[in-house]
Symmetry: C2
Subunit: 416 residues, 2 copies
Amino acid sequence: MTGRAELVSTISGRKYPFDRIEEFAENGESLEVSLPGLAHARPRSSPHLWERFGDFLPFPGMNPARSLGEGNTPLLPAGRQLHEWTGLPNLLLKNETQNPTWSFKDRGSLTCMFLADFLGERVAATISTGNMGHSLAAYGARAGVKVIVFVPGFAPREKVDAMAIHGATVLRVEAPDYSAMKRHVLGLAGALGVRIVSGNGPVRVEGYKLAAFELYEQMEGRVPDYIAVPTSACGHVRGIFKGYRELREAGLIRSLPRFIVVQARNNNPITGALKRGDEQIVPVTDVRTIAEAMTTGDPPGGEEVLRKARAFGWLGEDATEEEILESQRRLAAAGFFVEPAAATSLAAVRSLVRNRRIDPAATVVLMLTGSGLKDMDVLRHHACGARTSSLSTVASDLRAVLAERTSESPGTLPGH
Amino acid sequence: MTGRAELVSTISGRKYPFDRIEEFAENGESLEVSLPGLAHARPRSSPHLWERFGDFLPFPGMNPARSLGEGNTPLLPAGRQLHEWTGLPNLLLKNETQNPTWSFKDRGSLTCMFLADFLGERVAATISTGNMGHSLAAYGARAGVKVIVFVPGFAPREKVDAMAIHGATVLRVEAPDYSAMKRHVLGLAGALGVRIVSGNGPVRVEGYKLAAFELYEQMEGRVPDYIAVPTSACGHVRGIFKGYRELREAGLIRSLPRFIVVQARNNNPITGALKRGDEQIVPVTDVRTIAEAMTTGDPPGGEEVLRKARAFGWLGEDATEEEILESQRRLAAAGFFVEPAAATSLAAVRSLVRNRRIDPAATVVLMLTGSGLKDMDVLRHHACGARTSSLSTVASDLRAVLAERTSESPGTLPGH
């Protein structure tokens, strides 16, 4: 930490002290951490990313025992099949599914635990149907912080169990709709003094920005032209952008990447507004998409992201249900099994290339946000599965499979 | 590669040329790679583990495009709760669930692809009910190698789908029992010239030994007293041991870790023999354990592991079904959600401490072999799940949860 941190309301610019940190400003605006002295911030030597970039973080103490080994995820060339399919020879995949609970959320949960230490908080609560609740449950278990997760009535049992086995208390709230449930719980928690961690809160943004620092290291100081981020509550895209902006403030890079905000076509309050040129979000009320990790129909950071998009030339693109499934299949056929939400960005960048909105020579990073194991139900939409043999037919079945190979793909081993 | 590699039969010592590599010797013995000149092998500088330790690997070329970013997994202190429960203050967790397909198998699949490049093979096949098939499917997809996975009739649909979405051909073979199916497929594949990759094959062992090199780096040259490895086909424990032996041959370390071979009590051909002092494996025919990733009742590398255990003072311990479930829950309560097979080693080291077979001051590494997401069915055995609220009861339910916290755990934040 280089100086005294403050919280800044992202639209009005109003400032708040960091030690009374809230998830949102009183008027509902997104908050972000402001740290003076970043011009002199420098990476240091440490095995831990958060220590190397400690000058850029607002926490006065960061206990390594809070970490579950998040981050340090691979950045890989997408491979020939995906280069050809998207038309982008410089397409890179940042595989956030290799985090401790197999989604990008873990970076934000680490900083939530740093905050809990700072404020002496012993309880963290959230409203979640999946990745966020699972990640916070694991980090709370590690840190000895009690975690409460409010889930809607429709949350599948296995997602609930994956949170509960970490020792989190899961409260399944039956309510007419998810939005009403969220409003009720937020009001209630406020009255009881319980922090409801939001995916768009300023402390999670500090965690997500660590991905920018990691990309900076992995690309040896080069800045990609674009970073595509599946977007629901907005904290992820805000965090990665904030990281790059701070690297520039420190003089470590000169330019910023442009962001591609990606949503499902069936739930596109932000990308819809971006494509129409609107300045306001129109909330989506009846969210129905296979990209279940992106269920926020009225994203709390949406207006802020629209402002950023205008100011910094970001793009927005969404993917239809069919495109999401095809992208999931194509990523798997290239070696990467991701959940549907994570697959949206592959479809989106392909559309942007075809519509000539991004240059095929651009270097584009896709954030693969969550593991395919998180949603096995969706596999029923794919025509995969097994062929059935018996001991008497397996020989002829194997011969048939081998013959397919021979006729189909002589010499298809992709080079590097 | 420092010299000309050969294959050595681990019991008879008979040698074979490396370019006609087989999974087993003609008499069924395990094979391993022998590389001359290891006394002069040295780690080099590279971002890739396999390049840093290239002197220790037998492949004449290693194409980085084959990698999915395997390895580079965290090594973490287990945390206060697990230190107390096991009685081991120096217990470390090596979290192999953060691999590309969320199990340790990926390290072996990488070297399988290096071998395919070396031999010009375009097909890789295996017999698997889960992790091995999934991992090979993903790496084959990345490399453009056709993958065929033979699964038994009882393989659950979701495990099959996770392989098939990567483009692997899955042949579900209905047969009276799994062993009969394996024998039939092995004979058939031999006749058709298709390699059936074994979890105990010499090339997978070369991949698993990379975990030893990574531990060597992460522990800055120190050698743990014990490494506990859940063991089914034996390739994993053989590989990590081989890595340490080669580090000693190169003069980089002086002592070797002792290994703890871990199995489920319900399927303990190796640990049963070790505990009885037998020199022969008694195969288990009717395997019934919740540790589904360890289904090999007649492990192909078993005799070799028994010999190694006698020669190097290894230990064997197994875990009951109840102990496996409790270990899974305790690992999750410390932040780590692993599949039942991966949880066996926590129970095993606890038993060994209680029976005074390992010194509580020892440094012990547990290999967390696979993600809990790989087997969500098992969660029904845990008394977890959600409490159900409604909009009218959630306030009192939340108050009750908060009160539980206060009475239960004042001051329980663990220090580092």
